[in-house]
Each structure stands twice: as structure tokens, then as C-alpha cells.
């Protein structure tokens, strides 16, 4: 009897102490066959999340979009970029996650899995490179390793080029390889290295409709945040600057939002033309530059898809601004501009044209009329803005860069005081000026407070912008 009693107690106690972690620990994961495919897919997912943060944050900072409601950042529109702002921290978490995941993949996961293929390695190197490109383009500086020293944008871009070289070498000649080559051109562009940028842009240009996108998955919680803010949420949180109204929305859903999450483009053929054109204009070979841009209109943008979309439930007003024009009105890019039509759409009047890849209102005639470097630079940057709308590129064109965040600074001794200050060029108007406009209801004219492309050209010697000029 005593034995039964003791045995019962022992059974109860030992059994009750037995606890299973329902999750997977890293030592269980690494070294297992098939780990690579899940890690590479995880990197794709991470890239999607990274692009969410990049697109949403930088589009708000830029003159493209402003936040009309209370969700998402309320200060990036000013633009106010504080090192202690959680959104500032979130952006680097997402960029650094991509980099660390790529490194963990290269060091731990891929070597431990016999099913790893060259294409897997190439994609991981690409992910690493892309993290470094974002680090270089979006930040004044960012550590290049866990708790490591803060690398300059130049250092990041050089690391990106090195990783892209590895990725390119692992792939046969295909679209994916071409995309990596164009990314190399972009990295050289950001470095201000026109020779190499043009060299690789020319290679990529051969594939003029090149398109590399990141995919979203609404049923698994990886929604395209920009799509949510532009279209899918009940109240559309973000509103475009009225002169860019015709380009909105780039992302939309039909049917159920969760099952229709549009991809975000990270590499497209247009960029090869834009890089080549900018090098030509910077070098004052204006005719060549003009021709490249005209080719871009006819050879690329003209063949990009345009879909007819019912956007009648667009709710521009009811948030922070209540004077957004809801009918087709004329616009002036700034007070000194002449009126232009077809920039603001009447969305209740029927379907609208949605440019899912690229759209622009810059015409060949306007290009022909531009005969000075400034005139062409102005149109080039307008085209860059319109083509890259809602893709997270405009902030870099404006010369704005994020600082290292407070969380990083507090846990990383390598972060210096200079690293925690955002770069906002002196010519950037503050107090929400970039997003500001007035609406003359009586005459049906919306006037932007600033034409930022004009401001850029007026400040073309500023070191933060125009990498081929400065």
C-alpha cells in the first residue's frame, strides 16, 4: 500500500512537472533537411515586411502622401524624424532583420541543409544586398552587424555591390539575374558613380519591361500596408498630394482584401532609363538625356498595364484635412504655375485608370520643350516621382535620411551623437509644407504650396541630392 502511495505521488509530481515548449527552438531547426526553403521563404516574407515599413514611412516623409487620419505616423509629414520615434526604430528593425536573417541563413541554415541550391544562395545574397542598399539610401548611417559599428551609406552600398556580385555569379542569365544587375546600377547611382551605374543600367536596359516585385499574403498577416492605407481600409488613411491624385491608388483589391494584396515593385526597367538619362543630363548631353526619357515613355511606360478601377468609395475627407477636392479640378504645381487639368479625378463619375507599375503625365512635348539642364532635371525628377509613386523612393530623391534610433544607441556603444540626427536638407519646407495645398473652390483650382521638383532643381548643388551632379 505504501509503495502504491509513493508511486502515485511520484507519478503525479513528475508528470505534472513535464512541460513541452510548443514552439521550435533554434537548435532543433538548424541542421534539418528542408530548413533552407523555409528560411528563404522567410526572407521573402521579411522583405515584404521591410518594404511595408519603407514605403509607408518614406512616402509620408516625402511630398507624395500625407496622413489624413490617426493611424500610422503623425509626424513624418512635417517632416519630423526623431531618433526616439518608434517608427524610426521600426524602420531599422525591419531593414536590419532582413540583413541579420540573410546572414543567419548564409552562416547557419544554408550550410546545414543538404537540399540547398545555388538559386537559394543567390536569393539570400540578394536579400543581404538589398538590406545594405536600403541602409545606404535611407539612413545617415546604420550598424552593419549586430551591435557593430555604424557604417556610412557608402560602406553599405559597397557591401551591397559585393553581395550582388555573389548573387549574380550564382545565377544563370535570367530575369532575376538582370534584376540584380539593375540593383547594382542603383547602388552605383546612389554612390554617385555614374560610370558604373550607366554600365550596369545599360545591361539591364536590354530587358526593358523588367519587373521584380515583392509579394504580399493577406491571409497570412502579411498585408501590403500601403494598400491598406490607400484603399483597403474602411477609411483611407493616406491622401496623395493633389497633383499626384491621378496616380492613386497603385495598390487596390477587388473582392476580399485579404486575398488580393498587390505586390510592391523593387526593381523595374524604368530605372535603367532614368539612371542613364540622369547621367546624360548631368553631363550636359541634354539631347541624349531627352531622348532616353522619351524612349522611356514609349518603350516602357506605354506598355505597362493600366486597369480600370471603381474607386467611388474613396474617402479623402473626414480626416485631418476636409478640403480635398473630390471632383475633377485643375491644379497648379505652385502659385506661379499655370493651371493644368486631369490631375485630380472625379472618382464618383465612373471607373478610373490605375497604374499598377508606372504612370506619368510628363509628355514627349514637355520634354521637347525643355532645353536647359534645369528644365530636363526638373522633368526627370517629376518622372522619377510619378514612376516610383508609392514605392518608397521619393524620400531619398529629396535628400532626407533617417537617423540611428534610440534603442540602438542605448544598446550599442558604437553609435555616436552624429548618428542620431536625421538628415533633412535646409531647402525642405517644414510644418507640413510639402503636403500643403489650397483649394479655390469657386474657380476649381488646387494650388500646391511647393513644387518640390522645382525646389530640388533650385538647390541642385546641395550635397544631399542629385548624386551625379554633386
Amino acid at each position: 500500500m505504501k509503495k502504491v502511495f509513493l508511486y502515485t505521488i511520484l507519478t503525479v509530481l513528475l508528470g505534472a512537472c513535464n512541460v513541452l515548449n510548443p514552439n521550435i527552438t533554434d537548435d532543433v531547426y538548424v541542421g534539418n533537411s528542408g530548413a533552407t526553403s523555409s528560411w528563404v521563404n522567410g526572407l521573402r516574407r521579411q522583405l515584404a515586411l521591410t518594404m511595408n515599413q519603407v514605403v509607408v514611412s518614406t512616402e509620408l516623409v516625402s511630398d507624395d502622401y500625407y496622413n489624413n487620419r490617426t493611424l500610422s505616423s503623425k509626424v513624418f509629414d512635417i517632416p519630423q524624424i526623431d531618433y526616439f520615434d518608434l517608427d524610426v526604430n521600426n524602420l531599422q528593425i525591419q531593414v536590419q532583420s532582413l540583413r541579420e536573417m540573410a546572414e543567419y541563413g548564409l552562416n547557419k541554415v544554408l550550410p546545414g541543409d543538404i537540399t540547398t541550391k545555388a538559386a537559394d544562395s543567390a536569393e539570400v545574397y540578394f536579400s543581404l544586398a538589398f538590406a545594405h542598399i536600403l541602409s545606404g539610401e535611407l539612413f545617415v548611417g546604420l550598424p552593419g552587424s549586430s551591435g557593430g559599428v555604424v557604417l556610412t551609406p557608402t560602406e553599405h552600398l559597397n557591401l551591397a555591390i559585393a553581395s550582388l556580385d555573389k548573387a549574380i555569379s550564382l545565377l544563370p542569365a535570367n530575369d532575376e539575374q538582370t534584376a540584380y544587375i539593375l540593383l547594382k546600377a542603383r547602388a552605383y547611382y546612389s554612390l554617385g558613380d555614374a560610370v558604373n551605374a550607366v554600365k550596369y543600367a545599360n545591361i539591364a536596359k536590354a530587358k526593358n519591361t523588367l519587373l521584380r516585385q515583392v509579394k504580399y499574403d493577406g491571409t497570412n498577416g502579411v498585408s501590403n500596408d500601403m494598400q491598406t492605407y490607400l484603399f483597403s481600409s474602411t477609411n483611407n488613411e493616406f491622401a496623395p498630394l493633389p497633383r499626384l491624385d491621378f496616380l492613386d491608388p497603385k495598390y487596390y483589391h477587388t473582392g476580399l482584401a485579404s486575398s488580393d494584396q498587390k505586390p510592391v515593385t523593387i526593381v523595374k526597367g524604368e530605372e535603367a532609363y532614368l539612371i542613364i538619362a540622369e547621367s546624360q543630363i548631368a553631363a550636359n548631353t541634354l539631347d541624349a538625356g531627352r531622348q532616353t526619357l522619351k524612349d522611356l515613355l514609349t518603350q516602357v511606360i506605354a506598355v505597362r498595364p493600366v486597369v480600370q478601377l471603381d474607386d467611388s468609395k474613396e474617402t479623402r475627407n473626414g480626416g485631418n484635412r476636409t478640403d480635398y477636392p473630390l471632383t475633377a479640378v485643375n491644379v497648379k504645381f505652385d502659385a506661379s504655375d499655370s493651371t493644368r487639368s486631369n490631375y485630380v479625378l472625379n472618382r464618383k463619375a465612373g471607373t478610373i485608370s490605375a497604374y499598377t507599375v508606372s504612370g506619368t503625365k510628363v509628355t514627349a512635348a514637355e520634354l521637347d520643350a525643355a532645353v536647359t539642364q534645369d528644365g530636363l532635371l526638373y522633368l526627370l525628377y517629376r518622372m522619377r516621382q510619378e514612376i516610383f509613386m508609392a514605392e518608397g523612393r521619393r524620400m531619398t530623391d529629396l535628400g532626407i535620411k533617417f537617423p540611428v534610433s534610440q534603442t540602438e544607441q542605448l544598446n550599442n556603444k558604437n553609435v555616436k551623437d552624429a548618428d542620431i540626427k536625421a538628415q533633412i536638407p535646409s531647402f525642405i519646407p517644414l510644418a507640413r509644407g510639402m503636403d500643403d495645398f489650397t483649394y479655390d473652390v469657386a474657380n476649381g483650382i488646387v494650388t500646391m504650396k511647393y513644387d518640390m521638383n522645382k525646389v530640388l532643381v533650385a538647390n541642385k548643388q546641395a550635397k544631399e541630392i542629385f548624386p551625379f551632379i554633386n
Binding site: F5, G15, C17, N18, R44, S73, K74, D82, G148, N220
Partner: protein, 1061 residues
């Protein structure tokens, strides 16, 4: 692939499904039982003898039986004289039969004591002790008084008339009758078989020195011996409180703890804290036990379960069984909770349920009915009340049975309550049904078995609160969001024309009506206790029990609702979202206590082991694009689901020694060791020591000289350690997975920490308890100083590490210190009149001494640019942090500085007060509490400014210049002091006794109670309704501090009618 906690990887694992565990658990107790019963190796019923005797002395015959059977037979010669001679013949008959036949002529009882001994005792007539227990001062009969015979399993309780009857065990000539009732001095009365009807008058024990407590001690011990304080609340006091939920019931009743309900919606969470906030990681809610069984005490949002729980979570405390309570004990952390180990730094509340009453069955029927009215004191717009609120009807029906006979007692209670709630369309209605039963039985002479079972069914509705986005009633009406919602209105709703207001009212009415959020809880709880008293001074207790709670949280969002509230046509966004949470907690505890005396010294040694295991499973299943009318997700176009699973297991052993000298000086020492798989692999068993001294000068002979003034006194001091457990599995580094593009996607999960251990709060405390003028005035004054070492902080991931999840590290150090005063006075006490007043004052100083270099992090609030409550070195936990704006002479914003300290959310002074007045059978009572020195932000005001619903004190010049764009740049302008004084209950009752009612019924009580009648606050908003949603998630620390679209607790005006049969 599962990762198994290696220390317990054994063959039992496979065998050990949950069912098996429960079966084994009951086996354990049956084993305890059988252990206590006599052995069965050799029975006098089985052993056979043969005898052929003629006219021999009986003694000789018994010797023969002994020789043949190897039994030893004991008897008293007085009962069987030597001279008796007998003739008898038997072949191969059992010893039992032979003895019975031999002794048939004598009044004796034959019993086998163990394998060897048989005893022959004189058979005695059963003696029943009867009596009546009254209050010595008032002469009032005391029901529910515990009556027992020391060292036996015999026990009962007095009935409504104060009467009892109890059988003296047959084998006893005499015994000691122990009479004990909470709030009275314990009496021990020697009784014997000739004792006639007893009239026992109990003396009120205000100081409670000889009160017996259990919580924190393992087994019964008198307060005199303790160096820490234990607060006990008895039935009488509990009857004078709203009976809705435990925390509400205790509001204003615990002198040194503060309880604030953070919202007025059914099931709202509460903030309960005593000695400050000792953790930046775990919620300050005490651990709650019912009859020794640990309850689910989740008082924050759960991990999964969005919808109506977002920001205004569902509290598991709202459905802890409340009826049938005999008493509640509360200990507030420090040395008092050391014996609870890793789990109890925030204190322990223990509920003891009724286990039976007197001989006759007492039946109590009570009906409580009344009106609930909205607390509109803090509404900004006059019309809000009309827009969103209604008067509700409340009723509660209660039936209780108590009874017993000798060693058996039983108790049953059934309740039905229904509240329509104060929000229109009954969107906050609450219906609750519960049943509970308790049993006590003596099993044999040495074992007492006690059990309790409770079932609670709680259903309530909740309309959307401020954190859900889209239309929410209070945000719409009070925060100015009406200007951007639906058809859009002017947000200054008091100035709307009648026509516009009618339109708004119609809109709100429809928007509220179309909401459909339900929470249903089913909870089953049981406790099984065996007490075994092998010797008078030794007692063993085995406790086991289960708390099983299932919560379903359903949010139905129809296309009609979305279309209506957004003023658009929505046809494909209807959804049904279900969040189920299942909690299973198992508690097992085995302990023993030995009392010894040596000269002037007395020793109480307690040792035991405790194990608890919780499983928390949460499942979220959502159907989207579902047609209006569907209440299950089966009909949805898209279905998604998620799961969360947590297992917590903690095992601890403890040893406690209490040494007394001459009943006046006591040394209390103890240690507990805990193991837990949540500790990192580099961490072993964690130890929690305590030591304390209690000195009772009033037991000194010289004290008589001052006794006329200072009637009793106790000085106590101690040091103890208690802990908070880290989250289960938080030590392990994990890889996380989810689906992505039809494949498996892996990424970094939890960073992991091999050095994770519990945070430990070390408390040093000292106090004096003084009673003046025959204890008519009681004063307790104390000081505590507690430091939490290795405080657990959720350290945000360093971005460059690539991790995105915060990880728990033991990096912080937190200080709490304060004075605790409690004052009770009974200025009048005569046969007909009693007046009693009480008040408590507590100071509190809280500071994060060190954050170990970790970046400040928020525990509540919104984004860093708006308002957050933050943990930061050098500040008090949960201080308000936001943008501080300074206005220039011209009235426009001159500068704004981000991340500034805008005030602390923890008060530096708090306390409670109460009053009881009795005139004959009429009683009047009131209680309340207060706080001072804390701040909170009104995000409602901030929104009101933003949406132009008010200027909120912002200079006109600023509005003229910058409009309202700077609304987030001077958050300090919306932060207010939250000093308050709230009267929680005022009530009265009148009791008619049996004699007045021709003895058809024993008594009738008519009562009236006002709940939350009076609020006085320095803030423009309800200082209590400050959302407690912990940013750190389930069970996270929170201090409130942000008032935003939250309902205040309603008022209740209740009448009650109670009959005892």
C-alpha cells in the same frame, strides 16, 4: 518538433495525458485516506479459533483466544470482573464472532486497532453536547460559529439562532471544545460526558491577536505568532458589499491595498496593488486562492482575442466564485508571502468557502433588486448621457442551504443575477448563474475531508470601446470624433440644434444597436482537502484542486454596421471573430505541522511542498466576408485561425519554524525553494528566505499597570523575499514560422535568455499594533522598504540584432517604500448601539533604481509621439511620457520637447475608510477610498481639441495661428492630477428576529445599498477609468494613467430582502 524540458524527460511522459494526471490526482487522495484507515493485513474477521470451555473465568478464555490467534486483547478489568465464569463451545469461528458471543452479556464494544491489538471498551451512551453562542456585549446570537473538539475530527457550526449540537466521540470521556468565530476571541472549554447545555458568550477580538489564519503559513497559526499582517474579512462584512465581483467587493475593505476598476463595462480589468508596483513586467494583481487552490487571475488582455477586449480586456477575476464565502484572507507581499515563493510578490488573496452549518438545515433566500444608473459625473457633454446611456434594472436571486450532523456538514448556494446595464440597447448587460457546494466530513477519528465545488456561468455584452477604431460611442460623443464619423456632425454636441441633435441621436442609436459583442465564461472550480491528525500535536494536510475556466469572446461585425457607421456601402467585410481561452489550473499541496512545548518555549514547525500547473490555451478563429445574420464562421468566405498555448509549472518545498517564548515573544523563520522550467538553463533552484520577530508586550505581567489605557500591543518586524515568475518558455531561443505564399516561412522568434530567473522582491518591514481603552481604539502603524532585484524587463530588441521581439532580462532594480497606518475606533458600544469607524493611510514611493542600461519602454499607451506610460531609470514605474509644450507670451506654442515626464501614475498617498453604526437590529454602513498624487492623461480631451469639440484650455492665439495641428505637441496640457475620494457603498439593513415572526421563520433582513454613490475628483475625467491594457501583453504590468473612451462604473441602488428559515 517539441523541445522538452530535459530535467523531466522520463518514461512517465508518454503515459501522462491530462486525464491520467487527473486520475492520479484523485488516486493520491484515496491513498492518503487508506493510509489513515486501519491496516488490513490480519483481520479479526478472518483469523479463526476453536474453543471448548466449561465454566472458566472469562479472563482465562480471552487468554486462550490470544494464544490461538496471536492477537493481544486489551480491556479494563472494571468492565469484565475476574469472577465471571463462562461455558462456551466453537469450532473454527472467527475471532470477531467468538469475542462477540463471549461478551454478548456485557455493554462493551470490540474493535481492532491494528494488525495485533484488539480493544474491548465499555460501551457508552452517546453524549450530545448542545449550546448557544452569543456576542457578549449585545447578546446577539452568532450564527456560523465554528465548534470543534480538539484533536478529533468532530466539528460543527452554529445555526442562525446561534445554537449547536455536537456528539462527543464514544471513546472519549472528556475533551476540549474549541469555539471560534472570526472577529471574536477564541474560547477553549473543557467538556465531559456530563456537560450540560452550554451558554457561550464570545468577546469581540478587535486586535485579533488570537485569530487563526492560514494564508502564507501552510496551516493554521494564530496571528499573535506572526511577524507580518494578515487581513481577514468575515461574512458579515462581505454582506455589506456589492456582490458582483471579488475586486469590487474588496474595494475599500483592504486597509493597505488599492483596488481600482479600470472601466465600467462588465468584465473590466482592475488594478490591484498594495506595496507599490514591484515589477515592470508582471501585473500587480495578487495571486488568488480558493480553499488552497490557485485561481486564474488574469487581469489584463489575453494573448489572443482582439475585438472587444482590445485595450479593455476581460478580467478572469470577474467570475471568481463569490457566494458561499466564509472568510477572505489577504496578505500583501513581502515576508508574508515568502512561503508562496516565486509567485507571490504581489500578495495573496485567499477565499475560504462555507463547508456546512448546524444540525438543522438553515435555508436562506435572498432577493436583491434595484436600478442601475450611469455615472455621468465625468462626461464632458451634457447630451452624452442621453445619447449613450440608459437606466438599467438589476436583480439577484440567492438561495443557500447550510446544515450538518455531527461530523458531517454541507453547504449549497445557488445564484442568479441579471443586470441590464446602463448602456443603450442593453449593450452592457450581464447575466450570471452560479452554484456552489461545500462538504466537510470526519472520516474515522483522525481524518477530516473537506471539499468544495463551484460552477459559474457568466454572460455579458460589450459595446466597442475607444481602442477599436471606427465608430465607438464614447469616442464619437465625448472625443469629438462625431466630426469625422458617419454623416459627420458638429462635434460640440451640446450646442447642436434640436434637429441636428435628433439626427445625431438617431445615428448613434443605430450604431450602438448594430453592435454584437458577447463574452461567455464557464468556470468550474473544486478543492479537495484531507486533514489527518495522527497525534494531538501533529496534523497533515493534503490539498488538491482544479480551476477550469473557458471563455468565449465573440465579436460580430455586420456589413450593415460597417455600411451604416462609415456612411458607405459595404457588402463583403462582415466578420465573425471568436477568441476562446481555456485555462486549466491544478494545485497540489501536501504539508504538515507539528506543535511542541518545552518549558516556556513553544514550537510550531510547518513543512510542505506545493506544485501548481497551469495550461492556457487560446484559439482565435475568424470568418471574414460573411453574410449578415451568421453567428458561426462556417458560412464565411474566408476562415482564419490562430493558437496560443502556455504551460506553467512550478514546484516548491518549504519549511517554517515559529518559536514562541511565554506566549509573548515569537521568532518566525522560513525558507522556500522553487524549481521551474521557465528558468534559464544556467539557473537552478531559487530560494526565498524569511525571518521575523513578533513581541506581544500585553502578555507581560507589568503590562497590567498600563492596561487601562493601552489594552493590547504587539510589535513586529521582519524580512522576507518573494518572487515573480518569468513567462513560461521565455528562456528559450526560438524560430518562428508562418505561412507565406503557400509555403512555410521561417524567421527569428524569441531571442532567448539562458540566465532567466524570477525577479525577487526583498522586503524589510516593521510595525506596531496598539489597542487603547479596552481595544476601543486600534492603531496599526508600519513601514516597509522593498527592493525588487533582478527585475524582469522586456528589453526591446536592438535593431542591429535583427530580432524584432522583446526579450525578458533580469536587469532592473525597483524600489517601493511607504508607511502603512490603519485606525479603528469604536466610540460607542452598548447593548443597543455600536458605532465603529475605520480609516487607513498609506504612503508610497516608487522608483526604478536601475534599468541596467536598457532603453526606456512603454507598458501602456499609444505611440511614443502621443502618450505612453513608461518604465525608465530614475522615474516611477508607468510615469506619463509625451510631448511637453511651452506657450510664449503671445499665447502661441513657443517650443515643444519630446519624451518628457508629464507626471507619475502611481499615487503617493492612498487609503480607505469606513463607518458602521448599529441601533438594535438596524445597521448603517459606508465605505470608500481615496488616492492623492497621481496623474493621468485625458486622451479624450486631446482628441476633443484636435477635432474642434473644445479648446480645452489651449490659448486662442495658438488656435488662430496653427489651427489644431499642434495637438500632439503639448500633451502636458491634457494631463491632470487624479486625486479622488470615492464612496463605494452606503447601505443599511434591518433584521427581524424569529420571536417577532411567530418562529415561522428565523429571521428576515431588509436592506438597501447604494453602490458608487459619491465621487469627488480633482480631474475632469474619471481618475479610475484609465485603460489598463498592458502594452506588454498578457499579464503585463500596468498602472493605468490614460483616460480614453472608457466607461465609468455605474451606480447601483439596490434593495434586498433576505429570509432565513
Amino acid at each position: 518538433m517539441h523541445k522538452i524540458f530535459s530535467g523531466y524527460y522520463n518514461l512517465f511522459k508518454k503515459l501522462f495525458s491530462l486525464k491520467m494526471r487527473i486520475t492520479s490526482f484523485f488516486l493520491l487522495f484515496s491513498s492518503v485516506l487508506s493510509f489513515a484507515a486501519s491496516g488490513s493485513g490480519q483481520s479479526m474477521n478472518e483469523i479463526k479459533v476453536s474453543l471448548h470451555i466449561k465454566d472458566r473465568p472469562l479472563k482465562e478464555v480471552l487468554n486462550l483466544v490470544e494464544q490461538q490467534s496471536s492477537f493481544i486483547i486489551g480491556y479494563n478489568r472494571d468492565n469484565i470482573p475476574d469472577s465471571n465464569r463462562i461455558s462456551y463451545s466453537a469450532d473454527n469461528r472467527s475471532v470477531a464472532r467468538v469475542l462477540n458471543e463471549l461478551l454478548s452479556a456485557y455493554p462493551v464494544m470490540i474493535s481492532q486497532v491494528n494488525e495485533k491489538y484488539i480493544l474491548i471498551n465499555k460501551l457508552q451512551q452517546p453524549v450530545v453536547l448542545t449550546g448557544k453562542v452569543t456576542d457578549k456585549t449585545t447578546g446577539e446570537a452568532l450564527p456560523g460559529v465554528s465548534i470543534s473538539i480538539k484533536g478529533t475530527s468532530s466539528g460543527t457550526a452554529t445555526n442562525v439562532e446561534g445554537k449547536f449540537s455536537l456528539r462527543l466521540p464514544q471513546d472519549r470521556e472528556e475533551g476540549i471544545l474549541v469555539v471560534y468565530f472570526l472577529g471574536y476571541k477564541r474560547q477553549e472549554i473543557p467538556v465531559n460526558r456530563n456537560t450540560s447545555a452550554l451558554n457561550i458568550a464570545l468577546v469581540v477580538d478587535r486586535m485579533g491577536l488570537d485569530e487563526v489564519v492560514v494564508t502564507g503559513q501552510g496551516l493554521d497559526i494564530s496571528k499573535r505568532r506572526l511577524s507580518t499582517n494578515v487581513v481577514s474579512i468575515g461574512t458579515k462584512e462581505l454582506d455589506q458589499a456589492p456582490s458582483g465581483r471579488l475586486d469590487q467587493m474588496l474595494q475599500g475593505k483592504l486597509p493597505n491595498a488599492q483596488i481600482r476598476l479600470t472601466g465600467g463595462q462588465a468584465g473590466a480589468t482592475s488594478i490591484i496593488r498594495a506595496r507599490g508596483v514591484n515589477s515592470a513586467f508582471v501585473n500587480s494583481t495578487p495571486i488568488i486562492y480558493v480553499d488552497g487552490v490557485r485561481m486564474d487571475n488574469l487581469n489584463t488582455a489575453s494573448k489572443l482575442g482582439g475585438g472587444s477586449t482590445q485595450g479593455a480586456a476581460v478580467s478572469a477575476i470577474a467570475d471568481i466564485p463569490l457566494d458561499n464565502i466564509e472568510k477572505i484572507e489577504y496578505i500583501n507581499g513581502g515576508a508574508a508571502t515568502t512561503m508562496y515563493g516565486s509567485d507571490a510578490a504581489n500578495g495573496v488573496i485567499q477565499i475560504f468557502t462555507k463547508k456546512g452549518g448546524a444540525d438543522r438545515t438553515d435555508i436562506t433566500v435572498e432577493t436583491q433588486m434595484g436600478v442601475e444608473t450611469p455615472t455621468a459625473d465625468f462626461l464632458h457633454f451634457k447630451r452624452t448621457k442621453d445619447l449613450l446611456f440608459q437606466n438599467g434594472f438589476y436583480q439577484k436571486q440567492h438561495l443557500a442551504l447550510n446544515g450538518g450532523k455531527d461530523n458531517f456538514g454541507y453547504s449549497f448556494s445557488g445564484n442568479y443575477s441579471n443586470s441590464k446595464g446602463v448602456q443603450i440597447f442593453n449593450q452592457n448587460s450581464n447575466r450570471r448563474i452560479d452554484f456552489s457546494s461545500g462538504f466537510r466530513a470526519g472520516l474515522g477519528k483522525k481524518v477530516v475531508y473537506e471539499s468544495s465545488f463551484t460552477y459559474v456561468n457568466n454572460n455579458y455584452k460589450r459595446n466597442r470601446n475607444g481602442n477599436q477604431g471606427g465608430y465607438t460611442g464614447l469616442w464619437f460623443a465625448e472625443s469629438g470624433a462625431s466630426s469625422i464619423t458617419g454623416p459627420k456632425f458638429s462635434p460640440v454636441i451640446d450646442t447642436l440644434s434640436e434637429a441636428s441633435y435628433a439626427k445625431m441621436k438617431a445615428y448613434v442609436s443605430q450604431a450602438e444597436r448594430l453592435q454584437d459583442n458577447n463574452i461567455a465564461v464557464n468556470r468550474f472550480q473544486t478543492s479537495q482537502v484531507f486533514k489527518y491528525t495522527p497525534m494531538k500535536n501533529l496534523v497533515f494536510k493534503a490539498t488538491g484542486g482544479i480551476d477550469y475556466r473557458v471563455q468565449k469572446n465573440q465579436v460580430i461585425t455586420t456589413n450593415q454596421y460597417l455600411s451604416f457607421t462609415t456612411n458607405t456601402t459595404v457588402t463583403d467585410q462582415g466578420s465573425v471573430s471568436n477568441a476562446d481561452r481555456k485555462y486549466l489550473g491544478i494545485t497540489l499541496e501536501l504539508n504538515g505541522q507539528y506543535e511542541a512545548k518545552a518549558g516556556d518555549f513553544s514550537f510550531v514547525t510547518t513543512a510542505g511542498g506545493q506544485l501548481f500547473r497551469n495550461e492556457d490555451q487560446q484559439i482565435l478563429y475568424v470568418g471574414s466576408n460573411i453574410r449578415d445574420g451568421s453567428r458561426i464562421i462556417t458560412n464565411a468566405a474566408t476562415k482564419t485561425s490562430d493558437e496560443y498555448f502556455l504551460q506553467v509549472v512550478n514546484y516548491g518545498m518549504y519549511l517554517q519554524e515559529n518559536i514562541g517564548f511565554k506566549n509573548k515573544l515569537f521568532l518566525d523563520m522560513g525558507i522556500r525553494g522553487d524549481g521551474n522550467p521557465a528558468f534559464g538553463k544556467n539557473i537552478g533552484i531559487q530560494y526565498y528566505p524569511k525571518v521575523g520577530i513578533s513581541y506581544v508586550p500585553s502578555a507581560e505581567p507589568w503590562f497590567d499597570a498600563v492596561a487601562n489605557v493601552l489594552s493590547s500591543a504587539k510589535v513586529r518586524g521582519g524580512f522576507g523575499v518573494a518572487g515573480n515568475l518569468p513567462t513560461a518558455f521565455a528562456n528559450q531561443r526560438t524560430i518562428a514560422f508562418s505561412g507565406y505564399q503557400n509555403g512555410q516561412a521561417a524567421y527569428f522568434g524569441q531571442p532567448g535568455n539562458a540566465n532567466l530567473k524570477p525577479e525577487k522582491t526583498q522586503t524589510a518591514e516593521g510595525a506596531v499594533d496598539l489597542g487603547f481603552l479596552h481595544d476601543r481604539i486600534l492603531l496599526s502603524a508600519g513601514y516597509y522598504h522593498s527592493t525588487t532585484h533582478n527585475a524582469l524587463f522586456y528589453v526591446p530588441a536592438t535593431p542591429s540584432s535583427g530580432q524584432s521581439q522583446s526579450q525578458l532580462y533580469n536587469v532592473g532594480r525597483i524600489l517601493n517604500r511607504g508607511y502603512e497606518f490603519n485606525f479603528v475606533a469604536v466610540p460607542v458600544q452598548t447593548k443597543n448601539i455600536t458605532l465603529r469607524v475605520n480609516a487607513s493611510v498609506n504612503t508610497l514611493y516608487n522608483k526604478v533604481l536601475s534599468s541596467g542600461g536598457v532603453a526606456p519602454f512603454n507598458i501602456n499607451g499609444f505611440s511614443a509621439r502621443t502618450i505612453q506610460t513608461v518604465v525608465q531609470e530614475g522615474y516611477s514605474i508607468g510615469f506619463l511620457r509625451g510631448n511637453k509644450g511651452v506657450f510664449g507670451a503671445d499665447g502661441t506654442l513657443a517650443s515643444t520637447t519630446a519624451q518628457q515626464d508629464l507626471g507619475k501614475t502611481i499615487p503617493d498617498l492612498f487609503g480607505s475608510f469606513g463607518l458602521n453604526f448599529r441601533y438594535k437590529n438596524f445597521e448603517l454602513y459606508a465605505n470608500g477610498d481615496y488616492q492623492k498624487g497621481a496623474y493621468a492623461n485625458s486622451f479624450d480631451r486631446q482628441f476633443r481639441f484636435n477635432y474642434g469639440a473644445g479648446n480645452e484650455g489651449i490659448p486662442q492665439a495658438e488656435i488662430d495661428k496653427n489651427k489644431r495641428t499642434n495637438w500632439l505637441n503639448f500633451t502636458n496640457m491634457f494631463t491632470e492630477k487624479t486625486d479622488f475620494l470615492k464612496v463605494r457603498t452606503i447601505g443599511c439593513s434591518y433584521t427581524l428576529k424569529g420571536a417577532l415572526l411567530n418562529n415561522k421563520v428565523k429571521s428576515v433582513t431588509i436592506g438597501f445599498m447604494a453602490v458608487n454613490p459619491l465621487n469627488f475628483a480633482s480631474s475632469s475625467f474619471d481618475p479610475e477609468a484609465t485603460i489598463s491594457g498592458a502594452a506588454q501583453g498578457q499579464g503585463g504590468a500596468t498602472t493605468g494613467g490614460i483616460s480614453y473612451a472608457t466607461y465609468s462604473s455605474p451606480r447601483q441602488w439596490l434593495g434586498s430582502f433576505k429570509i432565513n428559515f
